[in-house]
Amino acid sequence: MEFVLALAIGIMTGSGVWLILRPRTYQVIIGLSLMSYAVNLFIFGVGGVKSNAAPLLGEGVDIAALADPVPQSLVLTAIVIGFATTALFLVVLLAARGLTGTDHVDGREQPK
C-alpha cells in the first residue's frame, strides 16, 4: 500500500513539476493541480495508511485501530486552500492573457 501510494505521489509530483516548468500558463495551472493532489496525498499518507478504519466513532469502536484523523483534517484544509488558489491562479492567468495578449507565463513570447 505504502509503496503504491508513494509511487503515485512521486509520479504525480514529477508530472506536476514538469508542467509547472512549461511556458504556457495553462500547463502551469494543470501542473499546480497535479502537485496539489500529490501533496494532499502526501499529507494524508503521513498519518499512516489504514484501510477501513475511518475515524468515525461508533459503538464499541477500537480507538487505537482508527486512522489518524489529524492529517485528514489537514488535507481537508489543504484541499480547500488548493481549490481557492487554483481558482485565483486561473483568473489571474486569464487576466494576464487578456492584458498581454499571450498565454506565455512571462506575458511575452520568448524570442526563439
Binding site: F3, Y37, N40, F42, S51
Partner: protein, 971 residues
C-alpha cells in the same frame, strides 16, 4: 549655567538655528536668515570662549544615555584640542556668515543655504566635541551629508551636482570604513568612550586587529581630508558657493580627517604601520597637491589643490609620530585655516566682482580692488611661508621635523627634499595667484566689466583673518601660544614636548630649507610663467589622468554597467527559471539533510500491495502523465486526464479510510473542472503545428526540466515512502479520538477537529476562500479579453449562422433545442441537490460531510442552473447575493467563536448539548454546528461568486463589444 549644559547647547544651537532657518524657507528673507545664523555662530563663539577656563583645567564632559547597553552614549567632551577647533569652527563660521550675507545673490533661496550651513556647523562641532567615538562617526557622516547639500546648493548646475555626489560618495565610503574601524577600536579598547580609547593605546597597538582598524580609520580620515589617492573630490567640490568652499573646504570639514588623526594620535600612532601608511599618503599628497596647484587655471582650483597639499603636510607631520611634529600639525591646522579661508574669500570676491575665476582671463585687478588685493597678498604670503606670517612658523616646524630621523626608512631620507620641493611649489603657486590676478595689464573682456571693491562688511572677514595671520605670525607666543599649549597638552598629555613658537630660531637647517624653497619657488614661477598663461587646466603629465574622471568612469562602470549586467545574470524576470530554482531548492532541501545523515530507505515489500489499489493507481498515474503530456496542445484532454487523476485520488481517500476527504475532493474537483473550462474559453487556440522545429537549446531545456521533474518525482517518492513506513508517533491523534465524542460532541473526528479542536484553522481557511473570491471578482471587473478571444466561440458562430440562414428558424434555436431536454433534468436536480446539501451539512458532525462539502454542493446546485439556462435565464430566477453570503458566513463563524467569551471561555470554545425536543426526542445542538453554518454560508457565497463572476465575462464582453460597435458606427 554649568559647563556641561553649555557644551550641549553649543552643539544643539546650530541645529536649532538650522531648523529655524528652514522655517524661513518661504519668506526667502536673506537678511533675516543671515542675521540669525550670525547670532548663532556668535553665540557659539562666546560660549566657547566662556568655556575656556574650565577646559584649561581638564576636559569638560556632557553625557546623556543613548544606547548604553552597547556603549553608545551621547557624550560631549571638550578638551584643549576640541576647544581650539570649536573656536575655529564658530569663529570662521561667523566670518563666513557675514561674508555670505553679501555674497549670495537675491535669486538664491538663501534661507536654505543658511539652514544647511548651520547644520553643517553643528555637525562639525559634533565631530570635535564627541566624547564617544561612535558619536564622532555619527557627526562625521552628518558633515558628509550637509557638505553634499551645500556643494549642490546650485543644483541646476550639473558640475555642482556631480561634485556633490562625488564628495558624498568618497566621504561616504570613508565614513563607512571609519565606522567599522572605530567599532574594532572600541572593542579592543573595551569601550567607545574616547577617554577609554585614548587610554588604551598600548593595548590597541598590540592587538592583532590593530592593522585592520588602522587601515579602516585611515581610509575614513584620508578621504575626508582629501589625501592622495582620495583627493580628487575636493577640486570638484569647488562648484559650491565660495563661502562653502571657504568654510568647508579650507577651514573645517577637510580638517576633520586630520583632526581625527590628531584625536586618535595617542591611541594609534607610533607604530611602523602608522608611519608608513600615513606617511606615504601625507608625503605624496603634499607633493602632488602642490604640483597640481601650480597648474590650475581656476582660482578656486588652485586653492583647492593647495589645500590638499597643506593637508598632506599636516598628515605627514602626524605620521612622524614625534610629539613636536604633532604640535606642529595642530598649529599648522590653525594657520592653514586662517590664511586659506581668507584666500577663498578673496577669490570669492574676485569671482563675485569679475564674474570669472579663470586665471587666464584675470589680470591687473589691483587697480580695481586694491584693498582686496593687499589682503590676498598677505594671505598668499602666509601660504607661501613668508616670515612674519603664521604660515612661516608652522612650516619651519615642519622643516625642522623633516630633517629629524624618525623610523629610519626610505621615507625619512627623502622627506627633507620633498618638503623643500613642496615648499618651493607652494611659493610658486602663491606667487602665481597674486601675480596673475593683481598685476599685469588691465583685464579685457570680463563677464562683469567694471569690478570694484565689495561692500565693507564683505571684506571684513578677510581683513580679520589676515590680521590673525599677521598677529600669529609676529607674536605667536602671545596670541595663539597658550591656547595651542592647552590643545597640545590635551592630546599629548605627559608626552608634551618642549617647543617654542618663536619667529626666529637662528640660522638652522629649516631656515636654509625655507630660503631654498622661497628662492626656488620664485625661480620656478619665473620659468613657468609664460607656459602657465596659456596652458590648459591641469598639470602636465597628469592632465589626462584626472582622478575625478577615473572615479566617475569606475563608478559608472561598476555601479551601473556591471551591476546591470550582473543583475541580469544573477537574476531573472522570467517565471520558468524561478520555478526551476524553487523546485531544485525544494528537492535539495529534502534530499541533502537525508543524504548527510546517511538515510537509507527500507526496501519495499511488494507482498502487502493490494492489486486493485495498484490498478487504481496505474490508472491515476497514466492520467497524471497523460495530463503532463497533453497539456500543451490538447487542453481539454489534459483537463479530462486531470479529472482522472483526481478520481484516483478520491478513491484512495475512500480506500484508506477518509470518506470526508473523498467527498470533498470530488466536489472540489467537479467545481474545478467547470472553473477551468470557464477559463479555457478565454485562452488562445493552439494548434500542434506551431512548435515542431525544436531548437537544440529548447531540447536541452526540456531535457533538463525532464530530469528535474523526474528527480522531484523520485525524491518525493522516496520521501513519502520513508515517512509512511515510519509509524506515526501518537502524540495528539488519540487525544482527539478519545475526546471527539465526549467533549466535542461529534462522532466524525475529522469534522470535530475541523470545527472544534482546530476550528481556528477552518476559520482561516474560509477567509482564504473569501479573499480569493473577492480578488477574482475584482480582477474580473477589469477583465479585458485578448482580441482573438473577444469573438464568440467558433461553435456559436456556426450555429447562429445556421439559425440565421434558415427562414423557419429563429436566433438561438439550436442552443434551445440542444438544452431543451437536459435543462429539464437539470432543473429537477436543483431541489434534489439542495436537499442533499442540507443532508451533508446536517450529518457532518457525526458522519462524513460538513459545512464545506455542503457549501460546495449548494454552489453546484446553483451552477447547474447556470449551466442549464445560461446567465440571463438563471439570474432572472435566482438572486444569489454572494457577498452577503460571504459576509454572513464570516460574521457567523466569528460570532460563534466570540459567543464563548460571554461564558468566560476562550474564542471558539464549543458547547455541545442534547436538547429534548417534542416529537423528535433528543437532538444534539452544538455551537460547532453554528460555526459550520458559517463555513457553509461562506463557501456557497465564495464559490458562486468565483464561478459566476467568470461566467459573466461572456455576456459582459459581448455587451462591451456592442457598445464599442455602436460607438464606431456613430463615428
Amino acid at each position: 549655567m554649568t559647563g556641561e549644559t553649555l557644551l550641549a547647547l553649543l552643539v544643539c544651537l546650530p541645529f536649532l538655528g538650522s531648523l529655524a532657518a528652514a522655517a524661513l524657507l518661504r519668506t526667502n528673507s536673506r537678511v533675516l536668515a543671515a542675521r540669525m545664523s550670525g547670532v548663532v555662530a556668535l553665540a557659539g563663539l562666546v560660549m566657547t570662549a566662556f568655556l575656556y577656563p574650565a577646559v584649561k583645567r581638564g576636559p569638560v564632559r556632557f553625557e546623556v544615555e543613548w544606547l548604553p547597553q552597547l556603549g553608545l552614549d551621547f557624550t560631549l567632551r571638550m578638551d584643549g584640542l576640541a576647544w581650539l577647533f570649536t573656536m575655529l569652527i564658530t569663529g570662521i563660521g561667523l566670518l563666513v556668515v557675514v561674508y555670505a550675507r553679501y555674497y549670495m545673490s537675491e535669486e538664491d533661496p538663501v534661507p536654505r543655504f543658511f539652514s544647511f550651513l548651520l547644520a553643517f556647523m553643528g555637525s562639525m562641532l559634533g565631530i570635535v566635541l564627541s566624547g564617544n567615538i561612535i558619536l564622532l562617526s555619527v557627526f562625521w557622516e552628518l558633515t558628509s551629508i550637509f557638505s553634499f547639500l551645500l556643494i549642490s546648493y546650485w543644483h541646476h548646475n550639473a558640475a555642482a551636482r556631480d561634485g556633490a555626489r562625488m564628495a558624498l560618495t568618497v566621504t561616504g565610503i570613508g565614513g563607512f570604513c571609519l565606522l567599522a574601524g572605530l567599532l574594532i577600536l572600541g572593542h579592543i579598547a573595551g569601550s567607545y568612550d574616547l577617554d577609554a580609547v585614548l587610554a588604551a593605546g598600548d593595548r590597541i597597538r598590540a592587538h592583532p586587529l590593530y592593522l585592520t582598524a588602522l587601515v579602516l580609520i585611515l581610509i575614513g580620515a584620508l578621504t575626508k581630508s582629501a589625501q592622495v589617492p582620495f583627493h580628487f573630490w575636493l577640486p570638484n567640490a569647488m562648484a559650491a558657493p565660495t563661502p562653502v568652499s571657504a568654510y568647508l573646504h579650507s577651514a573645517t570639514m577637510v580638517k576633520a580627517g586630520v583632526f581625527l588623526l590628531v584625536r586618535l594620535w595617542p591611541a594609534l600612532s607610533g607604530t611602523y604601520e602608522w608611519f608608513m601608511l600615513v606617511g606615504i599618503a601625507g608625503i605624496s599628497t603634499l607633493l602632488l597637491g602642490a604640483y597640481f596647484a601650480m597648474f590650475q587655471q581656476d582660482l578656486k582650483g588652485l586653492l583647492a589643490y593647495s589645500t590638499i597639499s597643506h593637508l598632506g603636510l599636516i598628515t605627514t607631520l602626524l605620521s612622524l609620530g614625534s610629539p613636536v611634529a604633532a604640535v606642529a600639525a595642530i598649529f599648522h591646522m590653525m594657520n592653514h585655516a586662517t590664511f586659506k579661508c581668507s584666500l577663498f574669500m578673496a577669490a570669492g570676491i574676485i569671482d563675485h566682482e569679475t564674474g570669472t575665476r579663470d586665471m587666464r582671463r584675470l589680470s591687473g585687478l589691483l587697480r580695481y580692488l586694491p584693498a582686496t588685493g593687499i589682503l590676498a597678498m598677505v594671505a598668499s604670503a602666509a601660504m607661501a611661508g613668508v616670515p612674519l606670517l603664521n604660515g612661516f612658523i608652522s612650516k619651519e616646524m615642519f622643516f625642522a621635523e623633516a630633517v629629524e630621523t624618525h623610523a629610519d626608512s626610505f621615507l625619512d631620507r627623502i622627506l627633507p627634499y620633498v618638503a623643500t620641493l613642496a615648499g618651493a611649489f607652494s611659493v610658486a603657486y602663491s606667487l602665481r595667484f597674486i601675480h596673475v590676478v593683481f598685476f599685469g595689464p588691465p583685464p579685457v573682456d570680463l563677464p562683469k566689466p567694471e569690478p570694484h571693491e565689495p561692500p565693507r562688511w564683505m571684506r571684513f572677514p578677510v581683513e580679520f583673518l589676515v590680521l590673525a595671520c599677521l598677529v600669529v605670525g609676529i607674536i605667536p607666543g602671545m596670541s595663539i601660544g597658550p591656547f595651542l599649549h592647552t590643545a597640545v597638552v590635551s592630546v599629548l598629555g605627559d608626552r608634551t614636548p618642549e617647543y617654542s613658537l618663536a619667529v626666529w630660531h637662528g640660522i638652522n637647517t629649516p631656515l636654509i630649507m625655507s630660503t631654498i624653497a622661497l628662492v626656488g619657488g620664485i625661480a620656478l614661477y619665473a620659468v613657468l610663467k609664460d607656459y602657465l598663461a596659456r596652458c590648459d587646466d591641469g598639470p602636465p603629465l597628469f592632465r589626462h589622468l584626472r582622478g575625478q574622471r577615473i572615479f566617475e568612469r569606475v563608478l559608472v562602470t561598476v555601479s551601473w554597467k556591471w551591476a546591470r549586467w550582473l543583475e541580469s545574470r544573477l537574476g531573472t524576470r522570467n517565471l520558468q527559471p524561478q520555478l526551476r530554482l524553487v523546485a531544485t531548492a525544494g528537492l535539495l532541501a529534502g534530499v541533502v539533510p537525508l543524504y548527510i545523515s546517511g538515510f537509507s530507505p527500507r526496501p519495499p515489500a511488494f507482498g502487502e500491495v493490494d492489486p486493485v489499489f495498484a490498478a487504481i493507481w496505474l490508472v491515476g498515474s497514466v492520467c497524471a502523465v497523460g495530463a503532463a503530456y497533453q497539456a500543451k496542445y490538447h487542453r481539454l484532454a489534459a483537463l479530462v486526464l486531470l479529472g482522472g487523476a483526481g478520481i484516483s485520488t478520491c478513491i484512495t481517500f475512500v480506500w484508506l479510510s477518509a470518506p470526508d476527504l473523498a467527498i470533498t475532493q470530488l466536489l472540489v474537483e467537479i467545481v474545478t473542472t467547470v472553473l477551468i473550462l470557464l477559463g479555457l474559453r478565454w485562452l488562445p487556440k493552439r494548434s500542434e503545428k506551431v512548435d515542431n522545429s525544436v531548437a537544440l537549446a529548447a531540447r536541452g531545456r526540456r531535457f533538463r526540466d525532464f530530469l528535474l521533474a523526474v528527480g522531484c518525482g523520485i525524491g518525493m517518492f522516496v520521501f513519502a515512502y520513508a515517512i509512511m513506513k515510519q509509524p506515526v508517533p501518537d502524540a495528539i491523534a488519540s487525544y482527539f479520538l478519545e475526546r471527539a465524542y465526549s467533549e466535542g460532541g461529534g462522532r466524525n473526528v475529522v469534522n470535530v477537529i475541523l470545527v472544534d479542536f482546530r476550528g481556528f484553522d477552518t476559520m482561516g481557511e474560509i477567509c482564504v476562500l473569501g479573499i480569493v473570491a473577492l480578488t477574482v471578482f475584482a480582477l474580473l471587473r477589469r477583465f479585458r479579453p485578448a482580441p482573438d478571444s473577444i469573438e464568440k466561440p467558433e461553435q456559436q458562430l456556426i450555429q447562429n449562422a445556421f439559425d440565421a440562414e434558415r427562414p423557419e428558424r429563429s436566433a438561438g434555436d439550436t442552443v434551445r433545442d440542444y438544452l431543451l431536454v437536459p435543462s429539464v433534468i437539470m432543473q429537477w436536480m436543483f431541489p434534489v441537490v439542495i436537499t442533499f446539501a442540507v443532508y451533508i451539512f446536517m450529518r457532518g458532525h457525526d458522519l462524513p460531510g460538513g459545512g464545506f462539502a455542503a457549501g460546495i454542493t449548494m454552489a453546484i446546485a446553483f451552477l447547474l442552473q447556470y449551466l442549464a439556462g445560461g446567465v440571463r435565464w438563471a439570474e432572472d430566477r435566482l438572486r444569489v447575493l454572494p457577498l452577503r453570503w460571504m459576509g454572513t458566513g464570516l460574521l457567523l463563524a466569528v460570532a460563534t467563536g466570540v459567543g464563548a467569551w460571554l461564558l468566560g471561555y476562550p474564542f471558539l470554545t464549543s458547547h455541545a448539548r442534547y436538547v429534548d425536543l417534542p416529537l423528535i426526542g433528543k437532538a444534539p445542538v452544538a455551537s460547532a454546528l453554528l460555526f459550520d453554518l458559517g463555513v457553509f454560508s461562506l463557501v456557497v457565497g465564495a464559490t458562486v461568486l468565483i464561478l459566476i463572476a467568470l461566467a459573466h465575462q461572456s455576456i459582459r464582453t459581448h455587451r462591451v463589444r456592442a457598445i464599442e460597435a455602436s460607438k464606431a458606427e456613430e463615428a
